[in-house]
Amino acid sequence: MNQVLHIFRKDVRHHWLEIAASVALLAAFARFDIRSWSQPYGAMATGIAAALGTQLLPSLVDFLLPVSWIFLIVRVVQAESLVGDRQFWVTRPYDWKQLLAAKGLFVLTFVNIPPFLADAFLLAYAGFHPTHYIVGLLWLQLMWIFLLFVWLTALATVTNSIPQMLLALLLIVLDVIGTSALSSAIRKAELSGGIDQWWGLAIVGVAVIVILMQYSRRRTALSRWIAVGLCALLTLISVASSRATPDRSSIVRQYPLSTGSQPVELGLMPPAAHQDESAPFYNDEVSIRLPMSVAGIPKDSFLNLDGMIVTLTNARGFRWDSGWQTNSQWLFPEQKTTPLFFQIKQSVFDQLNSGPVTARFLLAFTLYRNQNRHQFVVPSGKFSLPEVGTCTTEPRYSRGIRCLAPLRRPAFLLVTSENSSSTCAPGDAETSPPSGIFLHDFVRGASEPAEMGISSIRQVDINLSEWEPSVGRVVAVGICPGTSLILSTPQVTGRRGMELQFDNLSLADYQPGPRKGVH
């Protein structure tokens, strides 16, 4: 007898109501998703009914849909519970492999296939032929399986009721929160590492082991200990690795110091020339902002300042080291200035401020080359934006572009425009800034075939609006039909470190404006 199909049919009969609810939620999700495509970015609903329809209900469905999948998985696994010794099925001739296969078939049929079909429908509705994106659609379902369903199934095999399962989930969430808080308390910043995917694989591996052990041997106590052990190990590793905040030598290893020409020429500008608006200080910390001149970036390149280490020393030998501070500042060829800012504790500032200090910076840059650089003039109506998807301009609210991308945003797209090239009519209160200001927007997505999510359509909003220090305010380039954009796909060309030293610095001169406290 084919137990797989027999058990599968029984589970369908038993859980038809949950299946129907899940499918109904999926249909609602698709409907709300389609409706959201035409909602302008930045538009707010007015009135209770509109708010319900455009915000509250869709948000509720977004939340309930994955909950319904989780519920289905837990219910079907616990229909033949693997915990305890009173289940009627353990003394019946079930073949464990076929039982597991039946549960897998159920999850595949009612948790994976409906979203797969819904995603294909959404692609078609948005104007993308689903057959061109089969790999991406399958990838999306695989990600759901490995990122959520596998370990949820493992949890369901070591619990015997929904309340027990919820308790286990709550404990995991608390563990994650606690670990995160502990790691943050130890060190504030870290280099991003590549260990996450390996730990993800380890979690999936352990989950599979737990599932197989439970179905083949029902060793619940051992399975639970394995799961708890994995959580404890992850906690320890997370906390321990947070202590290993990168020091100078590890930064220099990852960002080798330039031997010849520097990636960028940075010069300290006088403080009076760049009075920014006041930057808040937090509790007992003081903000220091050094205006820097920028030059020497090749025309087809740009950089990101990933982070830095700041060392301040005064004449009395008092020394302060910031440790690794992450950052994310883009530097473009047409850019003339950029700030370097950091925070120090009030007590340290008071010690250092008694006289001039020597400031040493170790700056860590990632270098990019602008590839496939080409001009794109925005047409009217709906248009196809290369590398992205189908787009329209949004003239009322954001004055940008709203795009629908199939399965993922482009891995890395840079959109640039010079402010005078905008063809949008200026707003009533706007005064035109001087020309020659280049604004940028990045679109960064996944390099995999699909980004994680429920919908197969990714909404991409491109807006050109930045704080421009040269004019001391936000400058926006509205994107309307006729506006010229420069599109490019940046590629990382390397990482470089750079050292700067400034002597006889008066820190008080570089405090931006009157201080405002934020507590």
Binding site: M1, F88, V90, T91, P93, W96
Partner: protein
């Protein structure tokens, strides 16, 4: 012939508690073997080890010639199991349960299934959650008999059932007794007595004895001795005499190794000429009560 069930120094510990202490028993094929004992004796533990629901600590256990720890999957096609606290799929009707289980067993006999449904008067369209306890046990038994199992294991099947339902269950079992070995645990001695062929007594995890019911009943007697004058009780009585007591000129005890000639000779050796010696057969309940009280007194 291979025993249906065989254990050899079977031990089960739950942390520090030794639930089973070197249990050694042998269930011959075709027997109706009753494992009796008070609550907490270890009966259910023993059965769960035999059914590979629990893991043993040490020792050996074999069921139908197979190590019990290997019993799973298709091995269960020959074994029927009914327990008073087994969790049934409450959402199913009786008919749906039988239809669901049918394909799992190659030897499922639909004619027998129909006969059992009729015999137990099972309402096929009623959900298990809406059944009384007795009806639920009957449904469970029907679902465990319909495939002609070689071994039927029942854990406290009569607990909380009215006499009519008990009778129906017992009759259902006896109808199958010729083709199956039946292993049943119970503390309901009155029922056991009516249909068991073998009985084993388990107390605090230890097997006190295991033998055929007929020989057990045969060797136990209530003995009543009548004297002319109240006799003195001996300081040391034979170990096969249990619960020795005297009231006025009458002495009573339970003889556990009864033989008409040997017992009479032993009585006369211990006591001066009694005026009258009377032997009365004992029910299983009386036998176990005497054994239980004797055990407590010796402890």
């Amino acid at each position: 012939m291979t025993s249906a069930i065989q254990t050899d120094h079977l031990v089960k510990k739950f942390r520090r508690v030794e639930a089973l202490q070197r249990l050694t028993l042998d269930v011959p094929p075709g027997a109706v073997y009753a494992l009796v004992g008070p609550n907490g004796a270890g009966k259910t533990t023993a059965i769960k080890i035999l059914m590979n629901i629990l893991r043993r600590t040490s020792g050996r256990a074999q069921v139908l010639g197979l190590d019990s720890s290997h019993i799973r999957g298709h091995h269960l096609e020959s074994i029927g199991y009914v327990s008073e606290n087994q969790e049934m799929p409450e959402w199913m009707t009786i008919g749906a349960l039988l239809a669901y289980l049918r394909p799992f067993y190659p030897t499922w006999d639909q004619a027998l299934e129909a006969a059992l449904v009729k015999q137990f008067d099972l309402p096929l369209d009623r959900k298990l959650r809406h059944l009384s306890r007795g009806m639920r046990m009957k449904a469970a038994l029907a679902s465990s008999l319909a495939y002609h199992p070689r071994l039927i294991v029942l854990d406290e099947p009569f607990t909380g059932l009215d006499p009519l339902v008990r009778d129906e269950l017992i009759q259902g079992l006896l109808d199958r007794a010729k083709e199956s070995t039946i292993f049943v645990s119970s503390h309901d001695l009155a029922e056991i007595e009516t249909f068991a062929s073998h009985v084993a007594y388990l107390e605090e995890g230890k097997l006190r004895f295991s033998e055929e019911l007929s020989s057990l009943v045969e060797r136990f007697r209530e003995v009543e001795l009548t004297f002319d004058t109240p006799p003195a009780l001996p300081p040391q009585s034979p170990e096969n005499w249990m619960q020795l007591s005297a009231a006025a000129a009458v002495v009573r005890f339970t003889e556990s190794r009864f033989d008409p000639e040997r017992t009479s000779a032993e009585i006369r050796r211990v006591f001066p000429e009694p005026r009258n010696i009377a032997f009365s057969p004992m029910s299983l309940r009386s036998i176990f009560l005497a054994m239980a009280k004797s055990g407590r007194n010796s402890a």
